[in-house]
Amino acid sequence: MVGHSPPPFFKRGPAPLAKLVFFLVLSLALLVSDLNLRYLDAFRQGLSVLAYPLQMAAATPADFVRNASDYFASLVRLQIENKELKSKQLKEGERLLRLEQLEQENRHLRTLLEARERQPVKSTVAEIMYTAKDPFSRKVILDKGAQAGIEAGQAVVDDAGVVGQITRVFPMQSELTLLTDKDQAIPVMVVRSGLRAVLFGSGDGLMELRYLAANADVQPGDKIVTSGLDGVFLAGLPVATVARVERDQAQTFARIPCLPAAGVERFTHVLVLGHRESLPARPPEVEPVVSKLKGRRARSAKE
């Protein structure tokens, strides 16, 4: 009789503890492959088809509240906004006129130089529907998706500068990761000194210039624009302003927090820029000398 367990009164399948371990391991595997390896985008797309109707229904109350607040927006506020927009338009108008003339001139010069013409970038206007609920990241949901031709990786700007980048695309919506999201990176240039660097979101609504030497030529108030080295963002879009520079003798790098130029956390309409013209292919890697030597040695050994 030893080793015989009594017959179970209720059929419960595998032991609860075994089930627990199985499902915990399964969810951990999902977590690792989603966060580190990004294998699960197709799986997520599949499941999101299931969740989509419920999601749409749940977004309706938020839509309703948003529309209602728009509707009841006070007349005064609208008048003020109108005045601001008009004065802004006047200011921009003058610059726009000059821009057209400059573009004309640029085209002439480029043809003179027989340089490749810059391709105009296709862009889509999108509206921000709501902030994604995940409290650990700074993401918002846009009302345009794959059906409007939006693809993952596209740059998003508003009237004042770069806002972020599209990270996930659904059929009718897309997910925009803000620049202030932790570790969201963008290659930039300091306008005054021409210094190139990488700007990271620091997670508290600010951004940070990292990996700049303690004696780098950066001052508070410096404007920071995209450098265009990534092939995603156009060069010269405003990104941030340097808030302060903390140089510490003990640290190799300076700590440089920056304020975002665009209204990164408070806009309603944004512009999704199309993909840039593809950059020339990278030159082939030169094989290091050491490996050549090794190869020769190996060959001579064979002989």
């Binding site: 419960r12 609860p16 999902l30 499941l47």
Partner: protein, 173 residues
């Protein structure tokens, strides 16, 4: 047919379609885009814990996993984050069910509070290990709201089981 231990009142057997409907309603409530509003409870965790306490033989870890994945998709979290937490909640609620059912609803809420709190802590740990920012202490307020909601939930979700099959005024229960 399981007696509610406290009142010794015999309830009708639970209908599984009702259990899943309430879970989907909770999922719907979780999907409402409240942004980073503090003190929004995790409805799915709450309803899941409720049914796992009431019906440990009928619902458990598997449902926790599936509804966790659906929550992950809907709120744009890392895939598996809520699944991990809900599997733990379902298991603990199943194991606690024999003890918890002997208490009044208020005392039950006190038992469930640490459970829901644990699920939030697990999610925070998982995401911080993956390198996300700490969202702030406000995200734990929702747990306390959820625990308070347990008391009305206790009556609302059991309502269909209180209804007798045929109405009879002379029936003792």
């Amino acid at each position: 047919m399981q007696p509610t231990n406290r009142s010794r009142r015999i309830l009708l057997p639970v209908k599984m379609w009702f259990v899943y409907t309430t879970l989907f309603v909770a999922l719907f409530l979780n999907y409402i885009p409240t942004g980073h509003l503090p003190a929004v409870p995790d409805f799915v965790a709450l309803v899941l814990a409720f049914w796992c306490v009431r019906e440990p033989l009928k619902i458990g870890i598997g449902a926790g996993f599936v509804f966790g994945l659906l929550t992950d998709i809907g709120v744009g979290a890392a895939l598996g984050q809520h699944a991990f937490a809900y599997v733990l909640v379902a298991y603990a609620a199943n194991e606690l069910s024999r003890r918890v059912l002997w208490f009044t609803p208020v005392e039950q809420a006190l038992h469930v509070l640490p459970l829901l709190f644990l699920s939030q802590v697990v999610m925070v740990i998982v995401r911080l290990m993956a390198g996300a920012e700490f969202p702030g202490w406000w995200m734990f307020f929702g747990t306390f709201v959820a625990a308070v909601l347990w008391i009305p939930l206790h009556y609302v979700l059991l309502l269909p089981q209180y209804q007798p099959m045929e109405r009879d005024d002379n029936r003792p229960i």
